[in-house]
Amino acid sequence: MPLPFEKPIEDLEIKIEEMRAYAGEQGIDLSDEITLLEQRLERLRRDTFDNLTRWQRVQVARAAGRPTAMDYLQGAFDGFTELHGDRTLGDDPAIVAGLARLGERSVVVIGQQKGRDTKENIHRNFGMAHPSGYRKAMRMFDLADKFGLPVITPIDTPGAYPGIAAEEQGQAWVIAESIRRMSRLQVPAISVVIGEGGSGGALAVGVANRVLILENAIYSVISPESCAAILWRDAAEAEKAAEALKLTAYDLLELGVVDRVIDEPVGGAHKDREETIRRVREAMLAEVASLMPLDRQALEAQRRERFRALGRFRDAA
């Protein structure tokens, strides 16, 4: 299913395919026409994706087929060894964690995992973690510190799960503790917002030295739908809310919330997964390398200062 604004692109792709097939069947040379159409397609793609509205980017960030944390774990890292469980309540499938190699280095990866199909989505609770998931993340932070391994957190969640058990088990408490625990890491930490950075549930694993974001990913204090429901009393106003919230990669770069935007292939990450994963890998390698010279204290201090400085205000009149 194409996204609504992808329809003209898809139509043109189909037309080109049909023309190719026709040329083959009839044994005629339509290569000039096809080349023209392909150029038009390329222009259309670029025009569309260079001019996405914020709401359209929200849709790309959530698009089916967009690489998930697990896709990066398999494609950008080597030898991923999953480690399970929080040692208290269970194992939360909405967060995948473990050891892996990134280039020559051993790292700890904590990723938020949405499903790649309906069945997996149900299993993963659509990437919405319970307290158990954040407890698992904190256990991984301990492990990383103990063995001096850099931490990488691919972020992709609509938010921490709002449910009865989650509240009873202290959802707010574990998010706060995870923020604190991550801020105290003695190793390099890099977060990459790969899809949706949904509020506190994302920030709980987002207190990194360097925060990267894919071009069409979003990071927000509240989902556009919930924001619209509160401010306009109508979830259908989500498009307006998405504009107001300034939740796109380049908005966040301007606000200082993220440090670097990783460009996606034209057409979005879901259209060229391999190239997207390659670019994310390159970015992660460069960022880890840049942080390696810093010692433990410097890493913690840099992280603290980074977050301490965020916000905009002025002297009172």
Binding site: W232, F307, G311, D315
Partner: protein, 297 residues
């Protein structure tokens, strides 16, 4: 002119700063008793008949906890900007200005230094009436500064929270205040100074999921709504009725999330005792160090 403004800013607390029903006489929403409003106010906004805790204006809260005349304000020097150019049913700057006028402060928070039963503290009080006590850049910054100043001056920190969560109108910058307030508390921890949080009705969202629940000791007032997600959001998500007392202080105490539920009347003394007990360890260590040093001489 300046004096006039000062009077406007410092006018006495108005009726709508609590959530008790209006009127000279009112019917308690919990026990239906007829209460004289003056009695309710004199009783720290607790129903004299049934003990129901109403929300309390910031000034009354400071009066409740700070020793008479000891409170020295720290906050108020900064005000919010409009980093997103946010407009919903009205532009954010207008919404802010109305709230500033109405509540006589730059944002949803007051911080300051005080003594509490003789103990030097930094005091943070959130104002739920000001844009739902929401945490944007200013609230986050005032909390961070209060934590840092308390640490520098060797004070314990007490935070009385009341908030709907992060402020939507400042977008992701509001979200980042959760991390900012958290890292600012580290100085207190490093200096062995206690941070005690007092969660009052309501404390939800990004405030609950950051500094509010990072207290060395966490107390809550009776009957306070304390949550990550609001009850309505949960109901819409799971499409079931919520259990009795869900997300209220007593329920959370039972679940192991709070150190205790403390009534407003007992709050000041409990805070004093807690802070003294927590600080006794480092005071004793200092004394031993002093003795050791004296012996070495």
């Amino acid at each position: 002119m300046a004096l006039e403004r000062w009077f406007r800013r410092n006018r006495p607390t108005r009726k709508e700063d609590d959530n008790a029903p209006a009127g000279l006489w009112l019917k308690c929403e919990a026990c239906s008793a007829q209460i004289y409003r003056k009695d309710l106010v004199a009783n720290a906004y607790v129903c004299p008949e049934c003990g129901h805790h109403y929300r309390m204006p910031v000034e009354a809260r400071i009066e409740l906890l700070a020793d008479a005349g000891s409170f020295e304000p720290w906050s108020g020097g900064i005000q919010a900007e409009d980093p997103l150019g946010f407009v919903d049913t009205q532009p954010y700057p207008e919404r802010l200005e109305k709230n500033r006028q109405k509540h006589g402060r730059p944002d949803a928070i007051v911080t300051g230094g005080a003594t509490l039963d003789g103990e030097a503290i930094g005091l943070v009080v959130m104002d739920f009436q000001f844009l739902g006590g929401s945490m944007g850049s200013v609230v986050g910054e005032e909390i961070a500064r209060a934590a840092e100043r308390s640490a520098q001056e060797g004070r314990a920190l007490v935070a009385v929270t009341a908030s709907g969560g992060a402020r939507m109108q400042e977008g992701a910058l509001s979200l980042m205040q959760m991390a900012k307030t958290t890292v600012a508390l580290e100085l207190l921890a490093e200096r062995g100074l206690p941070f005690v949080s007092v969660l009052t009705d309501p404390t939800t969202g990004g405030v609950t999921a950051s500094f509010a629940t990072l207290g060395d000791v966490i107390y809550a007032e009776p009957g306070a709504l304390i949550s990550f997600a609001g009850p309505r959001v949960i109901q819409q998500t799971i499409k079931q009725d919520l259990p009795e007392g869900f997300q209220r202080s007593e329920f959370l105490l039972e679940k192991g999330m709070l150190d205790d539920v403390v009534s407003r009347k007992a709050l000041k003394e409990r805070l004093a005792v807690t802070i003294r007990l927590l600080r006794a360890g480092s005071v004793a260590r200092e004394r031993e160090k002093g003795v050791g040093r004296a012996a070495a001489l």
